[in-house]
């Protein structure tokens, strides 16, 4: 077995030293009838070549985004990843390291986490960031739980324009923790309407920007309303490339801002692993979930980094911890951070502008199709269109032309007939002008 270094002779020597006949003797503490039943009805070992062939055959049954004209976003985005990013995350010393609990021999991981926290803070326009959550949806739920701890109130308001799966994750976690949630209808609400949704129990309102349907919003007024009611504004972002161009949560007055970080440095991976960004104001530092990396010195006075404020965390505070999270998204944060280091402000701004320009180009093409109505007045790189027929059916039809045309909104909101004809479409720097023309042409033909 290529991954197990012992020879039979090694095992014999080890058994002799232990004073046993064979390894079975070490398992006698497990009742015999349990051991007898533990036979694994599984295939025998395969060679590296055989495994590779087996897995390649399965991989071929999937259609890769790269092989079609691709217009799907809705919380996961296809962007280009520089080759050096994957090389960096495959460095043994990053890939096969553990959580940096021994900081003297983990400065590599700790320094990139410190850089990552700084990048996230600046990207979101916030004061501080943690060392990552699992993904955008769990980061959103954790943000709401933090708001309950901060305000000592027990109800959260969830915008109707938040990604439906994010809404479910937030609602579930709040409910199981004994808190209340109220979900608003999926539509624009003016200030007067929003003022009315707050009551004395409201700890926070969580909104998404750009929202699930692609609208770009300014939540500055909402921040003021929330603060007047002693509640927090939480802004969540599923497409963090947008922050290269649009107003940041910090500029709007958000108290906590979370995001899905996949767009920078991480592949689509069928939904995971991704990384959640969690940023907030310094005054809420001690209510932050998850790991935090801080700057300090060693006994020689050299600048060093270390996981800090760990007394918040489960391994120390146990049942009183701010979160149960332990393992987070280490290597995905490195991919994010390395890609962001390459981009810098200049690259990110350009990338964001290209995304917006591509989406505008797509807007212009699709808006010329007679039976298509565009739902958005604002957008970054995705928007929602109304089709004259069921969007899921149309997506299936376009698949025949090697087009993955976007997300039929009904896939995530199945119980609302108004959504049946809505299609959420996305363009990024990966989208070519030919893709857009081809898509518009085929869509027009179908309709």
């Amino acid at each position: 077995m290529r991954y197990l270094p012992h020879t039979e002779k090694d095992r014999e020597k080890i058994c002799a030293d232990i004073g046993i006949n064979n390894a079975q003797d070490l398992f006698h503490v497990i009742p015999e009838h349990i051991r007898k039943k533990a036979v694994l009805n599984l295939p025998p070992a395969k060679s590296e070549l055989a495994v590779e062939r087996y897995m390649q055959n399965i991989a071929k049954k999937n259609i890769a985004a790269d092989d079609v004209s691709f217009f799907l976003g809705a919380g996961a985005y296809k962007h280009h990843i520089p080759a050096s990013v994957d090389m960096i995350i495959q460095r043994s010393e990053f890939l096969t390291a553990y959580t940096p609990y021994q900081p003297e021999i983990a400065q590599g991981t700790l320094q990139y986490l410190f850089e990552f926290q700084t990048q996230c803070s600046r990207l979101m326009g916030m004061e501080m960031a943690n060392a990552s959550m699992y993904d955008g949806s769990t980061a959103s739920a954790e943000a709401v739980l933090a708001a309950f701890r901060i305000t000592r109130k027990n109800k959260a308001i969830i915008s109707g324009n938040i990604h439906p799966q994010y809404r479910d994750v937030i609602t579930n976690l709040c409910t199981v923790s004994g808190y209340k949630t109220q979900t608003l209808p999926p539509r624009f609400m003016n200030d007067e309407e929003l003022l009315e949704v707050f009551d004395d129990d409201t700890a926070a309102i969580i909104v998404q920007n750009p929202d699930f349907f692609g609208h770009v919003n300014d939540f500055s007024t909402l921040a003021k309303i929330a603060h007047e009611k002693n509640a927090l504004l939480i802004v969540c972002t599923t497409e963090c490339v947008s922050l290269g161009l649009i107003k940041t949560p910090g500029e709007m007055g958000a108290d906590i801002a979370v995001a899905e970080g996949q767009s920078i440095g991480n592949s689509l991976n069928f939904g995971g692993p991704y990384l959640g960004l969690y940023t907030t104001k310094k005054k809420y530092m001690r209510q932050t979930p998850g790991r935090l990396c801080g700057k300090t010195v060693d006994s020689d006075g050299k600048t060093s980094y270390v996981l800090t404020l760990t007394a918040r965390e489960q391994h120390i505070r146990r049942e009183k911890a701010t979160s149960n999270i332990c393992t987070n998204s280490g290597l995905c944060t490195l991919a994010f951070s390395a890609h962001m280091s390459l981009l810098g402000q200049k690259g990110l701004h350009t990338l964001a502008r290209i995304n917006h320009a591509k989406a505008q180009k797509m807007y212009k093409s699709l808006s010329q199709i007679p039976k298509v109505t565009i739902y958005n007045s604002t957008f970054f790189n995705e928007f929602t269109i109304q089709l004259p027929a069921n969007a899921a059916d149309i997506v299936d039809r376009l698949l025949e032309d090697n087009i993955i045309a976007g997300l039929p909104v009904s896939r995530l909101i199945p119980d609302n007939p108004e959504c049946n004809n809505l299609l959420l479409v996305c363009a990024t720097e990966m989208t070519t002008d030919n893709d857009i023309a081809f898509f518009a042409n085929k869509l027009q033909n179908i309709l």
Binding site: R286, L309, T310, A311, I316, R317, K320
Partner: protein, 125 residues
């Protein structure tokens, strides 16, 4: 006139000129090691004896501090926000956590005097 009253959980109440200061004993801070943060309650909040009134964090531990008697928080020691090490340096003087009002001073009699506490911690260690 300064009097100290100690609990078995190593909190003290210091009565000084009719003001009640509360903190953790010198013995407690030694046990905790370098203190990095003290979480204090809101001024005006009231506690029953035995309820968690504050939390003390060292690098690798977080310990609850319990109200030694029924009390209301009148003020907190804001020095500790910037300088939590004050508790390590002067636990029973400058390192006080908060000032309290105590309605039922008879509860103090259930606590230990300085001498009794000194004996108590010798048995603990």
């Amino acid at each position: 006139m300064t009097e100290y009253y100690f609990s078995e959980e190593h909190e003290y109440i210091r009565k000084e000129n009719e003001v009640f200061y509360m903190g953790i004993s010198n013995f407690a801070q030694e046990q905790l090691g370098d203190i990095v943060f003290v979480e204090l309650p809101d001024v005006g909040s009231t506690f029953k004896k035995g309820e968690t009134i504050a939390t003390v964090e060292s690098v690798k531990a977080a310990s609850d501090v319990y109200a030694p008697c029924d009390c209301t928080v009148v003020s907190i020691n804001t020095t500790l926000e910037e300088k939590p090490e004050t508790v390590n340096e002067n636990a029973e003087t400058n390192g006080w956590f908060m000032c309290l009002t105590i309605n039922d001073e008879t509860q103090l009699k259930e606590l230990m005097s300085q001498d009794t506490y000194t004996n108590f911690i010798q048995n603990v260690s």
